[in-house]
């Protein structure tokens, strides 16, 4: 069965990128939401927290953690922001 199996690109920013050692990677996944991607990549981004203070974007638009992830999507994982 390949049902639900999709290919996505995950991009890591700031401390997440430093921890992952890569800025982006292509992953095969059964994740259905952005939250699933965050959990599945925990060893990459290294966050010791739930996703509460982090943000996520999909295909260059801000998304929610419950937003569905589709085959071919690019998921951007943002650690807590600190502009200004």
């Amino acid at each position: 069965m390949t049902s639900g199996m999709k290919t996505i690109t995950v991009r890591y920013f700031a401390v997440f990128r430093e921890h992952a050692g890569v800025a982006e990677e292509v992953r095969r996944t059964t994740a259905t939401t952005a939250h699933d991607v965050f959990e599945e990549t925990r060893d990459r981004h290294g966050s010791r927290e739930p996703n509460g203070h982090c943000k996520v974007a999909i295909n260059d638009h801000m998304a929610h953690w419950e937003t569905p992830v589709n085959d071919g999507d690019t998921v951007l994982l943002f650690p807590p922001v600190a502009g200004g």
Partner: protein
């Protein structure tokens, strides 16, 4: 208009771009790199941004600010890269008919920018350590950086 730049910010040129004969009030905010945060001596800051979403989300912020506090013109520039103490990291300028809208819109814009835009700040300390601000529990990195202004 919101922009991300790697070059030093020129507040004077930015301010002039907001000139408007109907404007009676002008409020500007600048975030400067300061030499200390949460008890740590800071030597410089490093800003990283994801430009496409800074622009998209930043434009939303400017529109929201105008809906709440009708202004005549507003602009924001955020700098990225390595910044030294005293340099300007972010500039917000608002011109409006009366001062109340200028103050409130300017404050709204900087508050939202700090909370919503994908921009990250790494502090480089005098002791050689460094740390991503607001990320002390994000990942296993060295320093105890905390929420900055």
């Amino acid at each position: 208009m919101i922009e991300v730049t790697r070059d030093p910010i020129d507040p004077f040129a930015l301010q002039q771009s907001l000139a408007n004969p109907a404007a009676g009030g002008y409020c500007a905010f600048e975030g400067w790199v300061r030499n200390e945060n949460e008890g740590n001596e800071v030597e410089r800051l490093e800003y990283e941004a994801y430009d496409p979403l800074v622009i998209e989300e930043g434009e939303k912020v400017l529109v929201e600010a105008r809906e709440r506090f009708p202004y005549l013109s507003a602009r924001c520039v955020h700098r990225v890269g390595l910044l030294e103490i005293g340099e300007c990291a972010v500039w917000v300028g608002v011109a409006s008919k009366h001062r109340d809208e200028a103050f409130k819109a300017c404050r709204y814009i900087i508050d939202e920018i700090k909370q919503r835009l994908p921009i990250w700040k790494k502090e480089h300390y005098a002791n050689g350590d460094s740390g991503w601000v607001n990320c002390e529990r994000c990942a296993s990195h060295g320093s105890a950086a905390a929420i900055a202004d």
